[in-house]
């Protein structure tokens, strides 16, 4: 549903339209579409009621005797205070029952694909589980097939986080010790941005992620590639970068499938070069961003839990970055 045109005065104030990669008014998911419709319904009806009440108040304050007599009569109280609310709210309630009831248009996840998202401080551990039980670990980005309802299991490894992709669905908390379930169904291919919606510490504002919805065949191909081992570096810089990566303590916390890096404390880096962003959507994904993160991580994302790593020379950083960038 496009932005309602009656809001021209408001639109003058906010010159950008309602579309946006993180806009709840530009839904691209099944649940977000229902929320969007309900929201506009409530907004418009509430505004109508507000306008009516303001008019009545104005009439009561400044109106002629005749108008004031009309307003203070019993008919307005019974009609506007009893009949109208009962009617309107009963209609809304029935609509709500229709949306939420057993035969509702909400799809249920069919078990072919499940995504487990664990909230960490301050990044997202994402694991895709397909119907054969194969687990593919990734981080900080979620990819979904268009049109298929996918079950998402949410939990947390430390403090309470909250999973929120406004274009796809509403919020759901990620609570340590408990698994909450959500169904995500993307209705359009494209990129949406999500955010952690529960304060979880200093870097909470930098804990975001992208959700990329792709057509089914592209998604199947992508999942196959993601499940595979890391690319073997070819160039001189990249090979030197791999040697640096494997010998500078990075493997204690990170994993790159296909090498001896099998750490689980930090994000999985097997295909980090192909992600849409770095550091939980804090940095654009390009070669220099890797160097910036490794050397200045504390300034990019203050208080994050990766130790400061400024032990490399400029040349070594460039080699490391080119290695990480080619892990696609």
């Amino acid at each position: 549903m496009r932005c309602a045109r009656p809001f021209a005065p408001l639109a003058l104030l906010t010159l950008q339209d309602c579309a946006g990669v993180q806009s709840a008014f530009d839904p691209s998911g099944a649940e977000a579409e229902r929320i969007n419709v309900l929201s506009w319904l409530l907004i418009l009806s509430s505004v109508a009621v507000l306008v009516a009440v303001c008019l009545i108040t104005a009439g009561a304050l400044f109106g002629s005797e005749r108008w004031r007599a009309r307003i203070s009569g019993e008919r307005l109280v019974i009609g506007g205070g009893l009949v109208l609310p009962i009617l309107v709210l009963s209609i809304l309630l029935s609509y709500g029952f229709y949306l939420m009831g057993p035969g509702s248009p909400a799809g249920r996840a069919d078990g072919r694909l499940r995504v487990e998202v664990v909230g960490e401080r301050w990044w997202w551990r994402v694991t895709y589980v397909d119907e054969s039980g194969r687990r593919v670990e990734s981080a900080n980005e979620i990819r979904l097939p268009v049109g298929r309802p996918v079950g998402v299991e949410l939990t947390s490894a430390d403090v309470i986080h909250s999973f929120w992709v406004p274009r796809l669905a509403g919020k759901l908390d990620m609570i340590p010790g408990r698994t909450n379930s959500l169904t995500l169904q993307a209705t359009k291919a494209g990129i949406s941005r999500g955010q952690c919606a529960e304060y979880c510490g200093g870097a909470h504002a930098f804990m975001s992620f992208y959700v990329i919805a792709m057509p089914e065949d592209q998604f199947a191909a992508w999942l196959e590639q993601e499940a595979g081992d890391a690319q073997i570096p070819t160039g001189a810089d990249e090979t030197a970068g791999q040697t640096l990566f494997l010998s500078s303590g990075c493997i204690a916390c990170h994993s790159v499938r296909g090498t001896e890096a099998r750490g689980t404390i930090g994000p999985d880096l097997t295909h980090v070069g192909s992600r849409h962003s770095l550091a939980a959507a804090t940095l654009e994904n390009d070669v220099s961003a890797f160097a910036r993160w490794i050397r200045d991580g504390e300034h990019v994302k203050p208080e994050n839990l990766m130790p400061p790593y400024d032990i490399f020379t400029e040349a070594e950083l460039a080699q490391l970055s080119s290695y990480l960038d080619q892990l696609r």
């Binding site: 109280v77 009962i86 309630l93 029952f97 009831g101 057993p102 909400a106 759901l172 379930s181 959500l182």
Partner: protein, 126 residues
């Protein structure tokens, strides 16, 4: 001989006026609390098989009881809570307001009760 001092008019306390007016909403709030608490606790302690029948049954019972009490409040506002003012016209107005609020509360109670039959008892709605 001096005239006897006029008797001071003793108004009943304000709290009883509020209670009289808000009989309906208070009953509605109590009904909602009971239904919400019962459903939440029953679903939280584990969805045992009989939840699908126990919850609607309890909600139906609570709704029935609340509806009957509210009907009494509508028909005779003075039966449940007492408020007597000296001035006559106040009494009419107060009774009318109490009745109207009770009517609204009755619809509220019926709305809440109907949800038990329209939706899954412990359904995961997302």
């Amino acid at each position: 001989m001096k005239e006897p001092a006029p008797q001071p008019v003793r108004e009943p306390p304000v709290a009883s006026a509020i209670l009289f007016l808000l009989t309906g909403p208070i009953l509605w709030a109590g009904h909602l609390t009971l239904v919400y608490a019962f459903q939440s606790v029953t679903c939280a302690i584990g969805a045992f098989p009989s939840a699908a029948t126990v919850i609607p049954a309890f909600v139906a019972l609570a709704t029935l009881v609340a509806a009957m009490v509210l009907l009494v409040a509508i028909w005779a506002p003075g039966r449940l809570t007492r408020y007597r003012s000296e001035r006559g016209e106040n009494q009419t107005f107060l009774r009318a307001v109490s009745r109207l609020l009770s009517v609204l509360s009755l619809t509220g109670v019926l709305w809440t009760g109907s949800a038990a039959f329209a939706l899954d008892a412990c359904g995961r709605l997302r």
